[in-house]
């Protein structure tokens, strides 16, 4: 892959699930909002969603909207896809969000040889099929 070729989002049958607990997150994605839980008692961000705050165990968790800005904590570039439904190469990464939590994502819109720890990134929502919008991240 040359530096002119930018990493692309998936367009095939990406596996997806959703639960009562996570429904606000996926609804947010469909509305171009990156949502996360924040504890009303201790103020800590909480992601992935859970019934109680992982820090203070409070059940008073509010859904907030993240600015969707952060940096790459670690990354990989996958050449051998997990299933034939995924088109390689793709770049799973852990992104640290400014609000103080981290999430898995894929990096798109940058060249593979530009991936690095500390790269500033922002969320970019992409519809991979009519029912699913995923929060990819791209260079900020």
């Amino acid at each position: 892959m040359t530096s002119e070729q930018l990493l692309q989002p998936q367009s095939g049958h990406v596996p997806h699930a959703e639960s009562a607990l996570s429904a606000p997150f996926w609804e947010g994605c469909r509305n171009q909002e990156l949502r996360y839980q924040c504890c009303a008692d201790c103020g800590q961000a909480n992601f992935p969603p859970s019934e109680h705050c992982r820090i203070c165990l409070s059940f008073r968790l509010d859904w907030m909207v993240s600015a969707g800005v952060g940096e790459i904590y670690s990354w990989t570039l996958v050449h051998r896809p997990v299933t034939a439904d995924f088109a390689p190469p793709y770049a799973p990464a852990i992104v640290e969000l400014r609000e103080g939590y981290e999430m898995l994502t894929n990096i798109i819109g940058v060249a593979a040889d530009e991936l690095k720890v500390g790269l500033g990134v922002r969320v970019e929502f992409r519809s991979v099929n009519p029912d699913l919008t995923l929060p990819y991240f791209t260079g900020d």
Binding site: V14, Y73, S74, T76, V82, Y90, M103, L104, T105, V117
Partner: protein, 386 residues
Amino acid sequence: MSVRKRTAAIVGVYNTRQGRTLDGQTSRSLAVEAVRGALDDAGIGLDSVDGITSGELSTTLIYDLRLGPAWQGFGFGLGMITEAAAAIENGMAEAVVLVAAQAGEYRDHEATAPWTRPENEFVASWGMFTAAEFALIARRHMHVYGTTREQMSIVAATIRNNGARNPEAVYYQRGPFAPDDITASRPIADPFHLLDCATTSEGGCALVVADVEKFDVARQPVYVLGSGFDFYGPSYQHPPAWDLTGRSGTDPNGIVGRRAADLAFAHAGLDRAEVDVLELYDPFSFEIIRQLEAFRFCPDGEGGPFVADGHIAIDGSHPVTTDGGTMSFSHAGTNPQMMQRAIRAVEQIRGDAGPLQVPEAHTALCSNGGAGALFTTVLLLGDQPR
């Protein structure tokens, strides 16, 4: 701490044939062969067995082998051995068979093996599988400490060259490999190339743990001297971050297994220098570098130079994964390949490791897991009850 005499020991081990595929075999046929083989090795009859541990299959096997009423274990991998030894030393059983096998469950190689693929909603959509999970850990270590591609290749070449000399390995006579051969193999999930990764295969294995005061066993008993189990959460459901910490704030996930090793050594009354062979779990090359640091065989960040200096070679100061491990010996399903680290340790301690025998191997450390899976477990085995 009251010191109680150790009476439980591994007294029998058995590996079935291992192969990329074993046509005509089923997981059950291999399991039955392994149970018979391990009991024969121990010199104990099936009629004397009063406990079994085989993951989710324990209850089924108790019924189908007509072992009831019997103790059953719930652990996996190395934990099965600790659990069985504890059951025996607490008077709940006298002879426990530990068994696992896999055949015919992964033949469609268009996708990665089913047990490598997470189902969690915040993971699956990103095309994650074990190689990518462990790559995220390795990449962070490379960033922080400057660990190199070459150092990972030295690990993979070392372990694969052990397997190439092991007649029981799936990849017997496949090699020798130079580090450059590893780097030249096709990329899988950066920084990992194909030969950095475990293979997939089929096979079964079993161990017998028994009370050595109750049985006149056929072979040198191998004692469980210490154990440790460190978990950070469910595997493959959360970002595998090096810096993940719990409430204590100490020992991040990147060095998961340090607490386990410290506890195991303290319980055994052993020093690191007294360990003769390291049967480390090797799902990916980098994991060996990480475990050497986590278990304090070298300082933090120096695992790369440590492996490059030849310490881990079969004739080095810290020989690792002497059967060829999951890269070359076998990687069948989820459980057999974890138990097989202990089987190899028993072979080394008994002097049964053939061309790969480590001279004067009296004490071995075995491990399972890895930071990419958010857990690491440790078992210390030796030929004296201490």
